[in-house]
Every structure is written in C-alpha cells, then in structure tokens.
C-alpha cells in the first residue's frame, strides 16, 4: 500500500509508470460498505477499486447515496460495515459547499488549514496552491467577497494542501458556469495526470462519461454499474436502442428505470 508520508516519491514512481491498470496495487480500495440512517438504507454493500492517477466519476439520481459514500471515504462518518483501504488523513476532501471561513482571506484560509494539516513548509504549500488554482491575485481578498466559482477554487485548494494521493470532490461542478466548469475539468485532469487518484460525484451522466476513466452508477444505495465510460455507453445503449431512446441522458434514465430505480 502506498505510504502517505512518502508521497512525493510515490508520485514520481507513478508518473514514470504506464497508465494505471487493474492489476496494479489500487490507490484506493473499498469493500462491502454499508450505511443506514434509521430505517433508510443509504448504502448497500458497495465495493470498488481505483488505481493511482485514475479519474473516477460517481453518478446517480438524487438521494442515491453519493454524498454518503464520499463522506465515509473522507472519514467524516463511520460506515456500518465494510472497509476503506486508506485512513482519512491520506485522502483530500472537497465538500459540495465550500468549507472555508468567509471572514478570512484566501491566503489566511490556506495558511490555517496548512497549519492544521501540519504541512511542513506552510508558506511554500500556500504559494503553490495559490498558483495552481490561479488565485494568486485574489490572495488577500476575503473569501466571503469572492464569486461562487472562486470560492469553489479555494475549497479545492484547501483539499489539496497536504498533497494527498487520493482526492474526493462532491459535485465540484454544480455551482460553476460552463467556462469555469471547463477550467475545473482541465485542472482535475492535470491533477490525475500527475498521479492523484480523483473520485468525484456528479448528477450529470454526460459529464461523468467525458471526464472519467471509470464511472460508478449508484442508485438507492446500490452500486448498479462499475466500468469505463465506453462500457457504460454500451450497457445503456444496448437496452435503450430497442426502445428508440433519442439521447444518452434519456437512455440512462431508462437504464435506471429498468433496474427498478
């Protein structure tokens, strides 16, 4: 299992290696996760693996359990059953709502979380993050005065401060306009290219198709599908073609419907 303390070296190895394959040691392995809130089952026996540098999209209808799954991986709440291969300390977390202090400036937020994360060179980490997210010129602005898109960038920057090998993002694109969204995907792709395993959730199945190495489809807490976008397309189209569905989105809804969701 990769060692978080040895992050930089591990990342170097991954850069040199061929694109991640299924046989490599997974950067993240999840087995038999289950969670219920009282009577309601939020997750039922969810298992999957993701390799280093892999981009994983988690999609499914409202209330499918996407946020629940991500927050269990992030260590925010414990699962009722199942295991996660990494401790939360080695996983970066970007919640749906920006989790930063609106009364503090961008730099102050980054510095605070860098200190709390016990990052060794705080100033260097903050400077690096400001540059990576293109926020250097807004460093001294109060976060409360930033646009939603920029606030989301600060949110992502905080999740990346400790240079985690795995990054989780909950609906990162939902509050962004199309241009900001494009920039976000570029940023995330670059991150994955440098070896970070990225798991994100989205409502938009087309987004999942376009920006993922692997797609997980979750509905009512069950993992319905786990495979490449091409495989998903094949599975969805195979069923929908006979019924004459016009586009992928409609086909996907049908796909879910066929499985009782």
């Amino acid at each position: 299992m990769p060692n978080a303390g040895n992050n930089v070296a591990a990342r170097g190895d991954r850069d040199a290696a061929a694109p991640p394959g299924r046989d490599a040691v997974p950067a993240l392995a999840v087995a038999g996760l289950a969670k219920r809130y009282g009577e309601r089952v939020a997750l039922r026996d969810v298992s999957f693996e993701a390799g280093a540098g892999e981009l994983v999209a988690l999609t499914g209808p409202n209330g499918a359990g996407k946020t629940t799954l991500l927050s269990i991986l992030a260590g925010i709440q414990p699962p009722d059953a199942g295991t996660v291969s990494r401790p939360p300390g080695e996983i970066g977390w970007v919640p749906q709502q920006p989790a930063v202090y609106s009364k503090l400036s961008v730099a102050e937020n980054l510095r605070l979380f860098a200190r709390l994360e016990r990052v060794r060179d705080v100033d260097a980490a903050v400077r690096g993050m400001l540059e990576q997210t293109g926020l250097a010129d807004r460093a001294d602005d109060e976060v409360g005065r930033l646009s939603g898109g920029n606030r989301q960038r600060v949110n992502i920057a905080v999740g990346l401060l400790a240079a985690p090998p795995v990054l989780l993002l909950d609906e990162p694109s939902s509050s962004l306009d199309p241009r900001q969204r494009e920039r976000l995907w570029e940023f995330i792709a670059a991150l994955a290219a440098r070896g970070t395993t990225v798991v994100y959730s989205t409502h938009n199945v087309q987004e999942a198709e376009r920006h993922a190495d692997r797609v997980l489809v979750l509905a009512d807490g069950e993992l319905l599908f786990c495979g490449t976008p091409a495989e998903l397309e094949a599975a969805v189209d195979g069923e929908a073609a006979a019924r004459g569905a016009r586009d992928f989105e409609t086909s996907f809804v049908r796909f879910l419907h066929e499985r009782g969701h």
């Binding site: 927050s71 992030a74 260590g75 925010i76 709440q77 401790p87 939360p88 300390g89 977390w93 919640p95 709502q97 920006p98 989790a99 930063v100 202090y101 609106s102 009364k103 503090l104 102050e108 605070l112 979380f113 200190r115 709390l116 994360e117 109060e142 905080v158």
Partner: protein, 447 residues
Amino acid sequence: MRWLLLKDLQILRRSPLLVALLIVYPILIALLIGSALSRGPGNPSIAIFNEVPAEQRTFEVGGSSVNADEYLPQLSRSVDVVSAESREEAIRLVEQGRVLAAVILPPDIAEQLASGRRQPTIEVAYNGEDPVKQRYVESVVKARMADANAALTEKYEQVTLRYIDMLRDGGELTILGREVPILGLRDSRRILDSVIATLPRDAPERTALDQVNRFATLAIQNLGVSTDVLRSVGEPIAVRQTVIGGRRTPLDDYAIAVAAAVSLLFLTVLLAAGLLALEREEHAFSRLVRGLVSKLGLLAEKVGLAALCSLLVTLALLVGLGLFFVELDFARMPLWLAALALGSTAFAALGVALGGLAREVRAASLLAFLLSLPIAFLALVPAGSVSGWAADAIAVVCALFPFKATLQALDVALNDAPESFAAPLLHLAALTGLYVAIARLALRRFA
C-alpha cells in the same frame, strides 16, 4: 488548536458590530437588572412578638397617655404582620423563611418610655437570605419606628415645653396633689428691675443684682430657642438589629455581583454557542474533525475562547465599577478571578452544548437568549416569595444551570458574603463536565 483559536479571534476582530453588540448588550442588561433590584418588591411578612402585658400598653408621659398598640396598624400598612406567641416562635419563623423579619417589643418598654430616663430598645431580627427584601423590611421597620419615635417625641416635647413655658412665664404645678404656684423668669426679672431702680447708682448691691438680671434675660431668650432644639432631638427608641443566617451583603454590593453574573452569562453563552455553530455554518466542521482536531479539542477551544473573552470583559466591568461608582476591595481580585473563571467556563460549556444542539448561528443565538433569560430570572427570585412546586422548580433550575452558583461565588468573592466559596466552584466544575458531555453528544449529528 492554537491556530483555530487565532482564527476565531481574527474572525471576531473582523466582526466589530457583532462584538460591540455582544459586549454592550449584556452589560446593559446587567446594569438594568442591578438597578431594578434596588426597587423593593411587594408586601413581605414580618412577625411581631409583643412582650408588653396588655394592661401596660397604655402609659403616661407627663400626664398624657400613649397607647403602644396604636402604632402596630401603621406597620401593617407596608408589611403583612404575623403575631408570634413567644420570642422563640418569632425567631423560628424567621429561620424557616416564613417571615423576613421579627420585631420583638420588650416587656418593660412602657415603663421605660413612661420614665423617659432610659432608652427602651426594640429587637429586630432579619432573614438575611434575600438582601433585596431584607433591605426593604429594614427600611419599612425603620420608617415605622421613625413614625413612632416622632409621635413619642411630640408627646415628650409637649410635656417639656409646658415645663419650659412655666419656667419662663410662671404658672401652677401639681405636686403630690397640691397646686403649687411657680413664679417664672419673666416675673422674677420684673421684680429685680423694680428693686434695682430703687437702689442708688453706686450701691454695691446694684452690681450683683445686675448680674442676676443679665442671667435671667439670657435664660429667657435661650429658653425660647430651646423649642426648636427639642424638635430636632433624636429618637426616644433605639433599634438593635441582628441578622440570622444567610447573606449579610447589602443590596448595592449584591447588585454588582448580579450584574457581573448576568453579563458573564449572556456574553459567554452567546459567544460559545455562536462560535461552535459557525464552524458548521461555514461547513468547516466536517473538514476539521477529519483528524485535524478532535471533537473534544474543538469544544475545548470554543469553551476556552468564549470563557476568556467574557472573563476579560466582565473583569473590566468590575474594575470600572470599582474605580468610579462603588467601593470594591481590589485586594480580593484573585477570588474574583477564580469565580469569574469557573463561572465563565461553565457558561461556555452550556454555550457549546446549545450551539451543538442548535447547529446554526441564528438558532443558537436565539436558543441562548431564550434559555439565559429565564435562568437568570429564576435564580434571582427571592427565597420565601414562592412555595411548593414553584420553589422546587427553581431549586432544580439553580442546580442544573450555572447561574446561581456563579452568582454565589461572585457574591463571596466580591462582597465577602458569609457563605462557602468552594461549594459553588465545585458545582460549576461539575456543570462544566456535564455540558461538555452534552455538547460532545450533540456533535455526533453535527456534520
């Protein structure tokens, strides 16, 4: 945790309006409550034991009769009077808190008043548990005593004035049933004047008689003034006071302890509740407890910060009051600090419990207000003014919330009230533990 603390201070510094409100509001409330306490509440009851035998209650003062019973109805205009059968019973009523004071009239009061030579003494015993009412009863008893004193003084005065008039103008005095004529100073002088006029200018007797004449003139003039002097002469009855058990703190000092406790309560509870709820409102909580800080560590940070801030503000309030308005013993500062520290810590623990339960800054502030007001109010309800289940409910509230204990500790620290200092401090420490535990439970469903 240090960084989190600095972060919160930074946020507070950037919310000057909120901070100003947080500081000004509790101090205003505290001062209002303090001043409101200076006004006395409604009819308290007092016990009276009259040791004077019924047949002796009327006595003669210089020929006119006075009935002591006449003065009791006046007393019951301002207080409810319970008559006791014995001194012991009267004192017991005070000890049980059934009455706020006992007034005991000694058996020889009539004789002493009639003789006018020894000042008779009335005994008044107070229940010191409630300084507000004690002050009120004290003033009522004093006022009624003053009424009685004034009436008696008038009697004495009339008698004395009659003697003085007679001394000056002459008249008849009844001695042993016989009418005795008295000459009077004016007539004496007239007689002297006529005698002097008959003497030759250089007669040696004339010088001596002139001296006597001058004395008579002086005496006549001064006796005229003595009417006014007599009116201003003091009280024929003295009041000897004892306070049984309870607090001896006079009202103004107690009001300061109340003001400090109230401002500490509001400031700390609001600050702690708001700061904790803010972590959730900013969605930072889930990020923080993912191994960056423990939940208990987070609670400790909020409790510490809120307690420290409000301690400093309240200390400043006390120092300000002590420097400019009232007399405070600054040598007791270490005791103030101990009481303020434990009180503010317990309040802060209550605050984080409320913040954890309410989960939003606005809801938390509202909850803090809604709860703080009745807590303070109930703890200030004087003992003996309610009974039965209401008294039990108040006792439970005082035990479960840190206000009463803080007030007691502050009263001892500030005013040297004759009560235990350790007991309220231990109580506060226990409550701190309780509320931190509740807050920790509330954090389970906080994210």
